[in-house]
């Protein structure tokens, strides 16, 4: 079981997995699985935050290395409903990876902590200053896809 680190809401946790016919962390003989492996994330109460989400290959030349950057996001409206529980600050989470090789099932677990100070909407990935007669605005797009308008910028 690997400790992945301490993350804030809105940040990305890099989840990676080398599949093999053992559950070892760094297997000697990586083996391509029957299908894309899945992962589920559980909080410390055992509730699933993400359920059976598939993982893509990290690189096409690595046939057994799968990776995904999982954003510690609010519930997303787009895509399959992987879960109904949101990530919360101050909790530990466990990632369970599952895969099949020749129909035999394998699994592995990692864990990480979510520390306070973040925001599940993530970082501002685009900003625009919008000058209008009635007010000035800073308009920003957040990593989770929402666009926010902040009127009359000032320092607080």
């Amino acid at each position: 079981m690997r400790y992945l680190g301490r993350f804030q809401l809105g940040q990305f946790v890099h989840l990676s997995l080398i599949t093999s016919n053992t559950a070892e962390e760094y297997p000697d003989a990586p083996t391509a699985p029957d299908a894309a492996p899945t992962f589920s994330i559980y909080n410390s109460d055992g509730s699933k935050v993400i359920t059976n989400k598939r993982m893509p290959l990290q690189h096409p030349s690595e046939t057994a290395l799968f990776a995904v950057d999982q954003m510690l996001a609010c519930l997303s409206a787009l895509g399959p409903a992987y879960g109904t529980v949101e990530f919360e600050e101050g909790r530990s989470y466990f990632v369970r990876y599952e895969w099949l090789i020749s129909t035999a099932a394998f699994a592995r677990i990692d864990y990480f902590d979510v520390i306070p100070g973040g925001d599940c909407r993530g970082a501002y990935t685009a900003l625009e200053f919008y000058e209008r007669p009635q007010a000035d605005f800073v308009v920003g797009a957040l990593e989770n896809g929402t666009v926010e308008k902040r009127r009359g910028p000032s320092i607080s």
């Binding site: 301490r6 804030q8 809401l9 809105g10 940040q11 990305f12 699985p33 029957d34 299908a35 894309a36 989400k53 598939r54 993982m55 893509p56 290959l57 096409p60 799968f66 995904v68 950057d69 954003m71 996001a73 997303s76 787009l78 895509g79 399959p80 520390i115 306070p116 100070g117 973040g118 925001d119 909407r121 993530g122 970082a123 501002y124 990935t125 685009a126 900003l127 625009e128 200053f129 919008y130 000058e131 209008r132 009635q134 007010a135 000035d136 800073v138 308009v139 920003g140 797009a141 957040l142 990593e143 989770n144 896809g145 666009v147 308008k149 902040r150 910028p153 000032s154 320092i155 607080s156």
Partner: protein, 753 residues
């Protein structure tokens, strides 16, 4: 999560367009509470027409419907209606008087006074032709009310009687919230190429309307159905903005859009013989329908006929013929004809786009993908990864526009350029350069090692190009600096190359959090750079000398009482309020653990929790600084003088005295060593020299509160004569601000040159 970068573009009327290349273009007008899709949809069905009664509405007409948004922007027209011929009764004219009014003879015409007729084909008495109200009728004659006889009746002529009302039915009702007004437009008799507004209504639900306007009532503000180039405006002139062209700019009354990004996030499951494709960690949108799916290793491409956003599946227009793959790499793009094209809006209708308004950018195999667009001076510059193209036009790019290749430099993304007075400053895969439209100048020679691809090189900073979509640039005219935010580690940029136009100097800034966006705006009447950061924070740069707390808001500097791996408790006073210190750096500036900094994630009155463990846990000998901005400056290498045995060696630092406790550390580097040299002596600051040195510590601590602002430290003199001796020297200053600006006026190295 999105993983898509949003791009902003202001329209000439002041709306803000927001595009990704994979979603519908959005807009905000600064007034409405919500941000919605840009453009106005078009009705999908044609209206039906019939007439009622007898009156002055005559001839052969066709009709359309269109919708308008709150700003009065129109959408495209509906399909055209069937032709309606309005001729309920007609008769032949056998004579007419050249009198005022004209009296027409038509045997057994059957008309009544007050009805309208349309007369055509009268030869000689030509003023009888037209639309007239019937008056003073007899069985075989009637007067044309208000007519004047001009000429003498020769022969011919027929009359037709019109309708009093047009009834429009099957009028498509909008369901889109952008639509606030509906218009039904029709042609006049005799002119099928111009339409006029017959019905305008804010009724968005009815499907039947009627109008009693005849051709005269429609007025003369017609809308031509064909433009000056003969193109059909009927159904496509005001389509919604293209959702597949994310980069937009405005010039000469038109929005110009370009780019053809490939969507490659995650992977897909494809099954031989099935049209269904399932996404893995994807965010497919309905806008991807009609685009093409490319599967790595496949020999065919497939058109996407529909998208299920809920299930993240694609349905192809044909069964997938390749090998079944459980996690295939893929790309979704528009058909290849869109790859190197740009499109433009209708004039001064920035949300009305005609799909026919498209032109190819000249083929250039070395140019790479289209990466951006900039309107600058009188031109629009279209950027590829390694080529600039210049678009020039006066009114319509289709008629008077031309694109020519410009210098062979490029642009890394749509956010990595800035207009700086009379030139553009840009970032591409070769460096930073300035481009005036005519002249081009490399500007990044001093920092070029960051572009070196060699992973074994000694470069401290190397650009991580896989995260280039997050790179950005901002010009700060208040300080004459330009910042280029690039990723050296991780997803988001935490560093920027900063170029001072005043001093022609470069430096690197490091931030305690990711900074994936920036913009130049205004604050308090001054130009102000804002940074978009992690944790949904927007920061104003260069305001104050602390990163977060106000200088008098609490104990921002002092002694540490105790610490654990993840906490630190201060010895006295109360920390500033939570809102001022959350995600703010805390530095250890003295004592045990000196030189470390962490981010505050939890704050109580006297204790903070930090984001990552201390590697060297502070203790009661330590001094902390909350919100200090760390900085570092390093000189180039200098050679000690040849006759250095006859010269003393020393380093002097002249700085502006600070009122509050603050320190700087001076380090020296010998020859080409990467680690600083220990000073080899012990000395405390209370000797009134303003410096403190600990043996085995490379940091010479400078107390910047010393009144004369000067320190001088002698160095061991004399050059060793053996081949390992000291020959070169470089000095480094490191500091953390304490609420006052730290200013170093001069550093003098005696004995070196």
């Amino acid at each position: 999560m999105s993983n898509k970068i949003r791009y902003f573009a202001a329209t000439p009327e002041g709306n803000l367009l927001i595009s990704t290349g994979f979603d519908a273009v959005q807009k905000w007008n600064g007034l409405s509470s919500s941000i919605g899709d840009a453009g106005v949809p078009a009705p999908s069905t044609n209206v039906a027409m019939a007439t009622t009664g007898q009156g002055g509405i005559l001839g052969t007409i066709t009709a359309y419907q269109r919708w308008l948004d709150v700003d009065g922007n129109p959408g495209a027209l509906s399909p055209v209606s069937s032709e309606l011929v309005i001729a309920s009764t007609s008769g032949s004219i056998t004579a007419a008087t050249s009198a005022t009014p004209i009296v027409v003879t038509s045997t057994a015409h059957g008309l009544s006074n007050g009805e309208f007729v349309d007369i055509r084909g009268v030869v000689g008495l030509i003023s009888a032709n037209g639309r007239w109200e019937v008056a003073n009728k007899t069985d075989n004659t009637f007067e044309l009310k208000d007519s004047v006889g001009v000429g003498t009746y020769d022969s011919g002529g027929t009359w037709r009687q019109g309708a009093s009302q047009i009834d429009y039915t099957s009028v498509d009702a909008p369901t889109d919230s952008r639509v606030v007004t509906r218009q039904i437009l029709r042609t006049k008799d005799g002119d099928a190429n111009t339409i006029y507004v017959d019905v305008e209504t804010t009724d968005l639900s009815s499907t039947s309307f009627s109008s009693t306007k005849d051709d005269d009532d429609l007025g003369y503000n017609g809308i031509p159905l064909f433009d000056t180039a003969g193109r059909d405006n009927a159904t496509s002139k005001y389509d919604e903005p293209p959702d597949y062209k994310p980069y937009m700019a405005f010039l000469n009354g038109r929005m110009i859009a370009t780019g053809d990004p490939a969507y490659t996030q995650g992977a897909v499951i494809v099954t031989n013989g099935s049209p269904t494709v399932t996404g893995i960690d994807t965010e497919f949108t309905s806008e991807m329908a009609s685009r093409e799916l490319w599967i790595k290793g496949s020999t065919a491409r497939y058109t996407i006929s529909s998208v299920s956003e809920a299930n993240q599946t694609l349905t192809l227009s044909a069964n997938y013929a390749g090998t079944t793959q459980q996690y295939a790499q893929y790309a979704i793009r528009k058909p290849i004809g869109y790859r190197r094209s740009f499109e433009w809006s209708a004039p001064f209708v920035p949300e009305g786009w005609d799909a026919a308004n498209s032109q190819e950018i000249p083929e250039d195999r070395s140019a790479g993908e289209i990466t951006g667009i900039v309107a600058f001076q009188r031109w629009v510059y279209l950027f590829a990864e390694s080529r600039i193209f210049r678009l020039s036009f006066q009114s319509d790019p289709a008629l008077d526009g031309f694109v020519v290749p410009a210098p062979q430099r490029g642009l890394v993304n749509q956010r990595s350029w800035a207009i700086v007075d009379d030139y553009l400053a840009l970032l591409d895969r070769r460096g930073v350069y300035e481009f005036s439209g005519n002249d081009l100048r490399d500007a990044s020679a001093a920092i070029q090692s960051a572009w070196m691809p060699d992973e074994d090189s000694l470069q401290t900073y190397r650009i991580q190009w896989q995260w280039s979509k997050y790179f950005h640039c901002v010009n700060d005219p208040e300080t004459d600096t330009i910042r280029w935010f690039v990723s050296f580690t991780g997803r988001y940029p935490r560093h920027c190359f900063t170029y001072s136009r005043r001093t022609k100097a470069w430096w690197i800034e490091e931030y305690p959090f990711g900074v994936p966006s920036s913009v130049l705006g205004k604050l308090g009447g001054r130009k102000q750079v804002f940074l978009g950061a992690e944790a949904r924070k927007i920061l104003a740069i260069n305001r104050g000398s602390l990163d977060g707390p106000q200088p008098n808001s609490g104990a921002i500097r002092g002694s540490v009482s105790s610490a654990t791996a993840l906490t630190l408790t201060i010895a006295s006073g109360s920390l500033p309020p939570e809102g001022q210190v959350l995600n703010v750096p805390i530095h250890i500036v003295g004592g045990k653990g000196k030189g470390q900094w962490r981010k505050i994630v939890v704050r109580s009155l006297t204790t903070v929790t930090v984001d990552q463990p201390w590697l060297d846990i502070p203790d009661s000998t330590s001094t902390y600084q909350v919100g200090g901005i760390g900085w570092k400056w390093k000189s180039g290498r200098m050679r000690w003088g040849v006759n250095d045995r006859e010269q003393s060696r020393s380093v002097s630092v002249y700085s502006r005295p600070t009122e509050n406790d603050a320190r700087m550390a001076l380090r020296i580097y010998i020859n080409r060593e990467t680690e600083p040299k220990d000073w080899g002596i012990n000395s405390s600051a209370d000797e009134n020299r303003g410096v403190a040195i600990e043996k085995d510590d490379p940091n010479l601590e400078i107390d910047t509160t010393k009144a004369n602002g000067k320190i001088r430290q002698s160095l061991a003199d004399g050059r060793d004569t053996d081949h390992d001796g000291e020959e070169f020297v470089a000095v480094e200053l490191i500091g953390v601000t304490n609420g006052e600006r730290q200013v170093v006026h001069e550093i003098a190295i005696e004995g070196a040159g």
